[in-house]
Every structure is written in C-alpha cells, then in structure tokens.
Amino acid sequence: MKEQKKKLKLKVSAISQGTVIDHIPSENLFDVISILELDKTPNMITFGANLDSDKLVNKAIIKVSNQFFENDEINKIALIAPHAKLNIIKDYEVVEKKVVEIPDQVVGIVKCFNPKCITNAEPITTSFSVISKSPVALKCKYCEKITNESQMVIK
C-alpha cells in the first residue's frame, strides 16, 4: 500500500512549468476538468483521485503543464471545489499560491433548479447573481428563483 502511494506520488508530481490544483473533492474532479476546459487543452495534464487529505477524505489533484489561469477563470470552480488550492510552478519551484473565491456572478456552469425555467427548455446560457456564498445561493437572472447549494447541478 505504501509503495503504491509512493509510486502514484512520483507519477503525478514534478512538472517544470504550470499549475497544480489541489484539494478538489474527488467526486467533482471531472466537472472541474470540464469547467476549466482541460479536456480540450493541448497541454499535458495528469490527475489523481481518491488521495488522502486532512480536509477531505477523498481529494483529487490536477497538474497542468505550461498553463496558468486568470482569477476569473479559476474562480468558476469555487462552486464545486470551494477549498481548492493552486500552486503555480516555474522551474520546478512553487512561485505562487492561490485559493479560489466564489464570484458575484455565475455564468453557465450551473443548471437552474426550477423545472419551469426557460433555461431548462431552450439552449440558453444560465446566469445567476450570487446572493449568498456560504451556503451558496444563486438567483436566476431569468426566472428569479433561487437555487440552493443542495439543489445545484452542474450543466
């Protein structure tokens, strides 16, 4: 078991340039990948899930080579990975650390929970104003109904 973990660590570590995103809940790993459009990146990415963490029983980690994120971009994952931490790597060294922050507006990403909302009937990009960050509450720009954290579904 210990050997395996060591091996995994070796596999996912050590990028020379890029971003390491840590403390992602494992169950949201693939949503994070799709929100950040890492499924379309030409850069090398490695990820691991179900790793041990102090905060999360099951945490996931993503390492992206040669790619750096603007705050606006990275904050999009705050809804599903509120404790995510970023290490910005240059020449194998961590040169900057970042945490994510829930933005005031959420465009796309989340579905409106209201089945009678027009955004669930036609291909419309959803848009919400964040009326509470903890717990998260999103007010739909269209139907004006509030989607709570427990009702949140990623598009």
Partner: protein, 303 residues
C-alpha cells in the same frame, strides 16, 4: 438609448411608477389618442389569457395601433417546435413592440434579450406580471389619493400569489407603508419578502385569522387560492374556504377602505360584497386598460 422593456416590476424606478400613474390618469380622461398610428404591436400569447389579452389589445386599438400575433401557441409555429428565440427574432423584425405571455418562467426576460424592440411582459408563468401591479397601484392611488402612509392588507394565497409579491415591492418605495398578511400556515408570505421589509424597516404583521383586524385597513388586497398550486389536493380542500370575505364583515372598516382583487375570483369574495361601495375590483380591471396605454406610451417614448 436603452430599450424600455417591462419584465419585472423592479425594472421601473419610483419616478417611472409615478410617471405611469400620471399618464394613466391622462388616458383615463382621454382614452383615444392616436399615438400608435402607423405602428405595429405584436401580441404573442403562448398561453391563453383572454382577460389580459383583451385589455392590452383594446389599449393598442384605442391608441390607433395595429396588432399582429396569436392568441395561443396552438395556432402558431410554436407547436411545430420553433424555439422562443427564433419566434422573437422574427417578430422583432416586423413589429415596433412586443407584448407577450408565456407559460415558462424567465421567458420574458430572455425574449427581451433576443428582441431588438421593447418587450412588455404580460405574465411569464408563476414569475412576474408587472402590468397587473401597475394597474393595482393606479387603483390604490385613485381610491386613496396617495401612496404614503397606507395600511395594506393582503389576504389569501400569499405564498404563490405573484401579484402580492410585486405589489409589496413596489409599495415599499413609498413613505411609511404598513403591511398586514392574513393567510393559512401553508400559504404565508415567503421569508424572502419579509426579509425585504425588515431590511427597509417597514412594519408588517402576520395573522392566521380573518377577524375585525381589517378595520385598520386602507386597502384589502384579496387573492384566489389556486388548486394547481397544491401538490396535495387534500391540503387545498382544507384551506380553500377559510378566507372568504362577506359583506357583513365590512361593517367596521374605514370609509376610505377599498377591496382589490386581480380577478377572476372564484369564491373568495361573496357576491353580496359586489354592491358595497368598498368593492373596487371591477373598476380596477377597467383601470388596467388606461395603465397599459400608459406603459405602451412609455415603452415607445411617445409621452
């Protein structure tokens, strides 16, 4: 210049409320004004609502405008699967103004984004119906001569009734209102509106019993308890007959008090109330036409 859509009541400022009131009074004095001559208004009723449609279409006709559109989606390309997006794109190329009613919530806000001409929301599902609120306001102003220091009673379905929510928000813009809510437990005013009032230090009181407390009212706003709002039909049966206003209950009410109701009523106001001078709901409906003339004139910058 920004397009003057009316989707939610809060799209208008306090000044705009007052302007609509002034224009409505002007249209009441002289309903036939040829302001829409040469203009085409699209009246798109994706679900039928005869009352609202007739009020709008009469307003347009009295202003000399021409109407295109449909009275329910069954007779239009919508049944062929055309999206709201495409319908609005097309219609906004033909018409100078769109009046629309649609069963889905948020449809009017979305249409306003797609449309190049102003959109007036004539009801988007259970969400908003702002022209109803403005006609309610005009009725309040006409009967009370002021928007300030009024004690407004809201009775019946305060949980799902969109008209009471919008009226509450609009009237909160004025001086020193007091709200009294009378509703069964299942249909109480939602917390978000009570929080809205608390944030503004506006007084409100909640009651479960329909008692002599109404002697304090300046306005009694009655709503109907709609069966389709209940997931459990038993729950509806239990509350449907609880809040019925009868003429005998009005004996101790203030002389200036007037009873409003968005109509149609079911049984929440007994017919013996109709002959009481405090019953205002039929005049209220007529006020809708003047108010809609005012809203159209404002949307197209005609006044």
């Amino acid at each position: 210049m920004k397009k003057k859509d009316l989707i939610s009541i809060t799209d208008y400022s306090k000044d705009e409320y007052l302007k609509i009131m002034e224009l409505a009074a002007d249209f009441e004095k002289n309903p036939n004004q040829n302001l829409l001559e040469g203009k085409v208004v699209a009246s798109l009723f994706f679900e039928p609502s005869t009352r609202t449609r007739l009020s709008f279409e009469t307003a347009i006709s009295r202003m000399g405008g021409r109407i295109v559109g449909f009275t329910d989606a069954g007779s239009s390309s919508v049944t062929k699967g055309e999206t709201l997006h495409d319908t609005i794109r097309m219609v906004s190329q033909y018409a100078d103004l769109i009046v629309m009613r649609h069963p889905l919530e948020g449809s009017a806000r979305y249409a306003a984004e797609v449309s190049s001409v102003p959109v007036i929301n004539a009801g988007d599902g259970a969400n908003q119906h702002p022209t109803q609120t403005l006609l309610d306001m005009y009725s309040i102003l006409k009967t009370q001569q002021t928007f300030d220091n009024l004690n407004i009673f809201m009775i019946g379905d305060l949980r799902y009734g969109r008209t009471v929510h919008s009226l509450l928000m609009a009237m909160s813009e004025f001086e020193n209102p007091i709200f009294n809510f009378i509703a069964p437990d299942e249909l109480q005013m939602p917390e978000e509106y009570k929080m809205f009032l608390r944030d503004r230090n506006i007084r409100y009181f909640e009651h479960r019993e329909f008692t002599d407390i109404i002697s304090e009212a300046d306005i009694m706003y009655m709503t109907r308890v709609q069966k389709e709002r209940f997931s459990d039909p038993m729950e509806y049966e239990e509350v449907k007959n609880v809040y019925i206003l009868k003429n005998s209950m009005l004996a101790n009410t203030k002389s200036n008090m007037r009873i409003l109701h968005p109509l149609p009523r079911v049984n929440e106001i007994a017919t013996d109330v109709d002959k009481n001078e405090k019953a205002y709901y039929f005049q209220q409906a007529l006020n809708g036409m003047y108010t809609r003339e005012a809203i159209i004139a404002h949307a197209l910058n005609l006044k």
